[in-house]
């Protein structure tokens, strides 16, 4: 199947053209493996890998900034020969929430809006992968990226704790509980920010919208919590924690693991605890469903 050179047609300028076409006879992978490949590429893209040089700067800088305080905390703990972590595992995500928010606000549009804005989505949909698989894989990549960002400093704390000869079981338990919590937090942040990014295809608007959703919701929630604690209105203070992803998951892990809370009004008691759990599940299920619907509508891509 080689191409005979045709003297009547000049080859395109500056192009070597007399190479024969070679058909591909090798294996073709199934949907699972294709999905995994998409997952990995998406995850790498979230840290700027496989993209232009300047897309690497922000995510890698944020990763460094996330880990740095953990290194310092561990160093101080070891130096002072303390018998417990300076900052509990469960509180690290809340303390670094600004960094996490910036990461999510920058990377969710980069991963989600990008395919819609450049209309690359058409090329994905013109391939065997199902629409829903594409959506779920994108969510998984973003969740994994946020999870890596959140879990990396916890690993540093764990290593430090073990090096400092703190109780192994206590350290591992604190680490595992916090890891479970940040996994749920990563999923909530990823799904919400992905949904915002999928609705507003303009990248700048998507970045701003995610920032607003995360930071403004936290500011409002913590302000109301402060006031209601002052006024002794516990129910309001606890309930309002439902309205920000960070306080939601902080409350959830306090209720489930009895982890040290980062808010003045964590949920106390089974009733409100169950509400936190239900709201978390609803937020996840709702945003995934909304994402699937959003992409079902984008039919005439």
């Amino acid at each position: 199947m080689s191409s005979p050179s045709d003297p009547r047609v000049a080859p395109p300028r500056g192009v070597i053209h007399d190479i024969g076409y070679r058909p591909y006879a090798g294996p073709r992978l199934g949907e699972g493996q294709v999905a995994f490949s998409l997952f990995l590429t998406g995850l790498r893209n979230c840290f700027g890998l496989g993209r232009s040089g300047k897309s690497k700067v922000l995510p890698l800088l944020l990763l460094v900034l996330m880990v740095l305080p953990a290194l310092i905390l561990v160093a101080v703990m070891v130096q002072l020969k303390m018998d417990q972590q300076l900052l509990p595992y469960a509180r690290y995500a809340m303390v670094t929430q600004l960094l996490v928010s910036v990461f999510v606000a920058a990377q969710a549009p980069a991963l989600i809006s990008r395919d819609l804005r450049f209309r690359t989505i058409t090329l994905y949909l013109a391939r065997p992968l199902r629409r829903s698989t594409y959506v779920l894989v994108r969510l998984a990549s973003l969740t994994a990226a946020v999870f890596i960002l959140l879990v990396a400093p916890l690993l540093v704390l764990l290593l430090g704790g073990l090096l400092a000869d703190l109780s192994v079981w206590g350290q591992v338990r604190g680490f595992l509980e916090a890891t479970a919590a940040v996994l749920v937090l990563a999923a909530v942040l990823a799904c919400l920010s992905a949904l915002v990014s999928a609705v507003t295809t303009k990248r700048g608007i998507a970045v701003a919208a995610v920032i607003v959703v995360l930071l403004v919701s936290y500011t409002v929630v913590s302000a109301i919590q402060g006031i209601s604690v002052d006024q002794g209105n516990d129910t309001l203070g606890q309930a309002v924690g439902l309205f920000c992803p960070f306080t939601l998951i902080d409350g959830l892990q306090h209720w489930v693991f009895n982890a040290p809370p980062s808010t003045p009004a964590p949920p106390e008691g089974t009733g409100i605890g169950v509400v936190f759990l239900i709201v978390t599940v609803l937020v996840l299920a709702g945003s995934v469903t909304a994402m699937l619907l959003r992409y079902r509508k984008a039919v005439s891509v």
Binding site: Y21, Y24, P27, L38, R119
Partner: protein, 309 residues
Amino acid sequence: MAAIETGGLTKAYPRVTALDGLTVTIGDGVTGLVGANGAGKSTLIKILLGLLPATSGEARVLGYDVAAQGAQIRALVGYMPEHDCLPADVSASDFVVHMAQMSGLPHTAARERAADVLRHVGLAEERYRVMGGYSTGMKQRAKLAQALVHDPRLVLLDEPTNGLDPAARDDMLELVRRIGHDFGISVLVTSHLLGELERISDHVVVLDGGRMLRSSATSEFTQSTGLLLVEVFGNRADHDRMGQALVDAGLAARPHGDLIEVEAADPAVHDVIRDLACDLELGLVRMQQHHRRIEDVFKEGEAGSVQPV
């Protein structure tokens, strides 16, 4: 088995019927799909890929039903959309590798195929640059590369010459011709320009307002007309003298631009023309078969809405 078969295919949007009972069979080789803006070309392609559901009717691509077996079709078909679809911050090389993997090629094979295909479409050094800085011509080549990278059996190319300058257009058309004839991949290529497609297509399908106007082999469009075109050396007056002499000799002759068109059912007419030119002491510049072109066929009123080149 036909590459593409549709039966009574209809796509009705709330306000327009984009496809109206289209029944057509498309075989191997290069098929041109011609139609004016809004004729339904892109709609047909999206339905064939299973991206868009048809309102009624049926379609099979490579033997698979578009409604039920979209995934099988999309594994075997390559698609080049008419619109931009390339992310700006990735290199063509990385992007085409990724798209090969999305079609199920393992990583190593994807890299090899991407390198091959990018060479075939003529993206050389620039394939390592991010695509945001590409010219329209380079973008079209990158779009074509991702449509070919998984070695499809059929490619659907939606206006690949869109936005290209004449030289780049010729390169692209030659590439499309090679895909169909040398690579052994069936091609359905759309354009609103008839003249472009007659050069590279084996078969032309003309759509108008969602309906099929004509489907025939390109050779049928461009068959010899039994007409000769004659040009003599000299000015306008010399031309007129020659024309008059031809008419006087009992031939059906008429001006055709700067040339003279002569009906020549009989090869002996060649000799008559030569002798007449000799008698009038006029130099004969050329005498050639006058092939009708597709656009002439349509000028005859079959498709007023289809624009010739």
